[in-house]
Structures are given as C-alpha cells and as structure tokens.
C-alpha cells in the first residue's frame, strides 16, 4: 500500500477543501477502498476521513413523505430499521443479500454508492484496464468474462457495477444529495453512475471534492411496500456478488398493476432501470405472460460482451421470478436467505 496523508476534518466544508486536492480520496469505513489500496489499484496520496462528520448518520422522515438517509448510516443499521424495512422491503432485502454481516456492520450508505467494479482485471494491477489507466486497453474483452456486462457496455470496458443496494434504489427514483465546492446539489441516483462509452475512467458524475451527504427516497416510493422483492443469483448461496439480480416493485389495485418499477443488477456498469418493461406492466393484470413480455422488453437491447450470453436468458428468468414474487406479496419477514431464489417463501 502506498503511503498517504491522513486527515480527519471536523466539518463538511473542511472535508471538501481537503478532498479537492489532486490525489485525495474520501475514507468512510474503507471496506472497498482499503482492499483496493492493498492491491495497488487505488493509490490516494491523502485520505480524508469523513466518519466523524456530524449529522450524517441519521434516518429522517421528512414532512413531505420522503425519507432522508445520511451518507454515514451503516448498511446493517438501515436494513434492520424496522420502519425502513417495512416501507422499503426490496431495499432492505437487497442490503441483506450483499456482502457479509461484518461488512454490512461497517459499510456506509455513501460508500456503497461509491464502490468500484469487481471486474478481476480492474482488481489486478498487472492487467490492462481502461478504467484504471485510460488508453491501456481492456484485458477482460478477451479474458474470463462470463460475469461481465450485457447492457450498456463498450469496447473500452465491459465491467459491471457490483451494488445490490443501488438496484431497488434506482427503481424507486432515489436522489443523491451532494456537497461540493459550488455548494449543495442533487442528482437522481440513476445519473450518478456512468456507462463506460469512450471514457470508462469517469465512473460517476461527481467532480473532485464532491461528497455524498445523503440519499433521499421520494414520497412515491412508499406506495410499493406490499409488492416488492429483490432477487439475486449468485455463484454460491451467500456472501457473493450478483451474477444477475432484479428489483421488482408493483402497485396493484383491483387486480391490475397501476404502477411498476423494475431495475437490474450485475448486467451493466450502472444499476439498470428497465423503463420499457415498466411500460409493458403498467395497466396489465399481473400474470406470467405479461411478466415474460416485460422480461423480454428489459433485455431487448442486451448483447454478450464475451462468454456471457447465458446472462441474457438468466436475467429474463430472474425478472420473471422477481415480478412473480413481488406480485404474490411482500413476505412479513425477510427470507432466511435474503434475495436468494432458493429461499423457501410462500408464493415462490
């Protein structure tokens, strides 16, 4: 690990000033960053420790019906907050399907949003990677790429975004609150992560010094509590990143889907909102035929980036499964194996 300066500012303004220097990086719990630093993938010259910044560890119910989650709220605390899990069950299930109990105890909301891809070539400092080293090339294109992207990839980068948490969040129109040199601004979460295009090294819409201070779920996100699931296929039952995943949230009235939200994980460099599929679902009766049609619409633009054509079929099946389970109703308690298609839950 390269040596670095360590600073622990007392205010958000001081943090932004300290992090605006070239080579600086924010440190929250560090569960991803320290791993990357140990491998020589990230080499910050300064770490700006934000873990003591005041006021960023709160979950606030705002008067307009929206929910504001401070960037330093720990993943486990959010998932186990009873009111949160009841109102946004797919988000809680996604959180609990990710990483391990130890990592969820440490990892923060803001850190989860900022985690880097798990592409093995990105992680191996000896491999060519355009994300790490613009113009170096992409060893994943001709390498072990069965887990790589099938949507929104480019010849420059076929990596996927690893977050589970972000998948139901984009489905629910989450908003990111950012403090930066120019003051406070906000961004739909869907616009935070970028597709690679010609500039895979530009992973997010953030500018130098920008600090995510909170995440907001708009009032409308509450309407899906009764029919919301997150389903995730992994290469082992627990403690693994998604091969593919899907968050499905439905508002069903009088036997019809009034509003549908669908997003996929593990398929692209960003959490993938499937609006075409949502349009297929809106107004329809929740049945197997319309779920299959929605799944086809969600993956209509997909193409293999390597040895991963199977992910296109798998993703469609996971979409159907997530929609079927969501339509059957949110279980009273999160399944023993959160997100797992192997969990025994009524309606599965």
């Amino acid at each position: 690990m390269m040596n670095f300066d360590y600073v622990r500012p007392a205010s958000v303004a001081d943090a932004i000033a300290a992090a605006s220097e070239k080579g600086a990086s924010y440190l929250a719990s560090g569960t991803n960053l320290l791993d990357l630093m140990k491998g020589g993938v990230s080499r910050p010259s300064r770490l700006v420790d934000v873990t003591r910044l005041p006021g960023l560890d709160r979950i606030e119910h705002l008067s307009d019906g929206s929910l504001r989650i401070g960037a330093l709220v720990r993943n486990a605390d959010l998932a186990h907050d009873a009111a949160f899990a009841r109102t946004y069950p797919a988000v809680a299930e996604a959180l609990l399907s990710g990483a391990s109990a130890q990592l969820r105890n440490a990892a923060t909301v803001g850190g989860n949003l900022m985690q880097r891809t798990r592409c093995a070539y990105f992680y191996d400092a000896g491999s060519a990677c355009n994300r790490r080293w613009p113009g170096a090339g992409c060893d994943a294109l001709k390498g072990e790429n069965r887990l790589h992207a099938v949507l929104g990839w480019s010849e420059g980068c076929i990596a996927t975004h690893p977050s589970d948490f972000c998948v139901p969040l984009v489905a629910l129109d989450a908003i990111v609150e950012i403090e930066g040199k120019g003051g406070r601004r906000e961004l739909p979460l869907e616009a935070l992560h970028r597709l690679p295009g010609e500039t895979p090294e530009r992973e997010t819409a953030l500018e130098r010094g920008d600090l995510i201070v909170a995440l907001r779920l708009p009032a409308g996100a509450q309407g899906f509590a009764r029919h919301a699931r997150y389903i995730k296929v992994r290469e082992r039952t627990s403690y693994a990143f998604a091969v593919v995943s899907a968050a499905a949230a439905l508002r069903i009235e009088d036997g019809r889907i009034r509003d549908a939200r669908l997003a996929l994980g593990g398929v692209a460099a960003k959490p993938w909102r499937a609006r075409e599929a949502e349009q297929v679902l809106a107004g329809a009766a929740p049945d197997a035929a319309v779920f299959r049609e929605a799944a086809r619409a969600a993956l209509a633009g997909a193409k293999p980036s390597g040895d991963n054509a199977f992910k296109i079929e798998l993703a469609q099946r996971i979409v159907v499964r997530a929609l079927t389970l969501a339509a059957a109703g949110t279980p009273d308690r999160i399944a023993a194996l959160p997100g797992s298609p192997f969990s025994s839950v009524a309606g599965a």
């Binding site: 360590y6 791993d35 486990a76 990592l103 440490a106 403690y239």
Partner: protein, 165 residues
C-alpha cells in the same frame, strides 16, 4: 507523521502513537500489541478470520484503519472469557466440535458473539448459517459451528432469564 490514538481493548485503555497511517486494526493488535488471537487469513475482507467487536459490533479488522477508530472500544478473542471461565460461545464450540485446525476459530467465535448480540437469526439454523457466511472454514466444520452458535444463544438466553427472575 505521528498519529496518537486511544483505544479500550478488552477493557484496558491503551494510548498508542502510530508512525504510519496504513496500520489496520488487525496489524495493530497482532504486530504491536501482541494480541495474536485475532488471525490474519486473507487480509482482504473475504474470510472473516480477523473478526473482532468494535463498539459491540463485529467487523473485519483487516479492512479497518486503526487511526480512524480513535476512541473505540474493542473486544478480541482474548477478552471474552472471564478469568478461567470460557465464554458460552467458546464452550459450545468445544462441545460441538466447531473446529478442526482452529485457525478460523477466533473469528468464528467473535462473529458468533456478534450474531447473538444482533439478535436477527433467532433459532433458525438457516438464518444462523446465512448470518455466519462471512466466516469461512477450510476444514468444513460448519455443521458444528452452526450447532454451537445455536446452543450458545439458547444457553445465554436461559441464563439471562435466570438472572432477571
């Protein structure tokens, strides 16, 4: 760069001056404070051998910078027994053969203690397995580990009820 920090480790306050910000909690415990019960397995947050409690919560000490935890209260495997008496989770691991080579065991036990305090798994073996999935055991003692955590939890609940009765 001298970085002073103060930690309470197994109930004892330790004032430390680090000369390097890169030191993890794991390396601080093992290399500088001679608390080698906490094990270094992968050093990358994938195996759970380094699990300790920080402010009562189980975390991977290999992915935690010591300097960032100034003021924290830390419990390691050395701090869970009471005098000559084993912690109920330690006793249950022996009773159920929850280990073979023993390398992952301190992390498993600290994780089991953390799991019981979190109170999310209840008496469901599947939930216990899921909540212990951050601790790998290359010997494959998982059956015994799950039984040990379940029994320890039930013993601890019973003795708590006895105390409050």
């Amino acid at each position: 760069m001298n970085l002073p920090l103060s930690l309470t480790i197994n109930g004892v306050r330790r004032d430390i001056v680090l000369d390097d910000p890169r030191v993890t909690l794991l390396d601080l415990l093992r290399e500088r404070l001679d608390l080698t019960g906490t094990k270094k397995g992968c050093d990358r947050g994938q195996c759970g051998a380094c699990t300790i409690l920080v402010d009562g919560r189980r975390i991977n000490s290999c992915l935690a910078l010591a300097v960032s935890h100034d003021g924290a209260e830390i419990t390691t495997i050395e701090g869970v027994g009471r005098g000559g008496e084993l912690h109920p989770v330690q006793a249950a691991f022996i009773a159920h053969d929850g280990f073979q080579c023993g390398f992952c065991t301190p992390g498993q036990i600290m994780s089991g203690i953390g799991l019981i305090q979190e109170g999310q798994a209840g008496d469901d073996p599947e939930r216990v397995r899921e909540c212990m999935s951050g601790n790998l055991c290359r010997c494959g003692a998982y059956q015994g580990i799950t039984e040990a955590v379940l029994e320890a939890q039930s013993n601890m609940t019973a003795s708590k009820q006895r105390r409050s009765a």
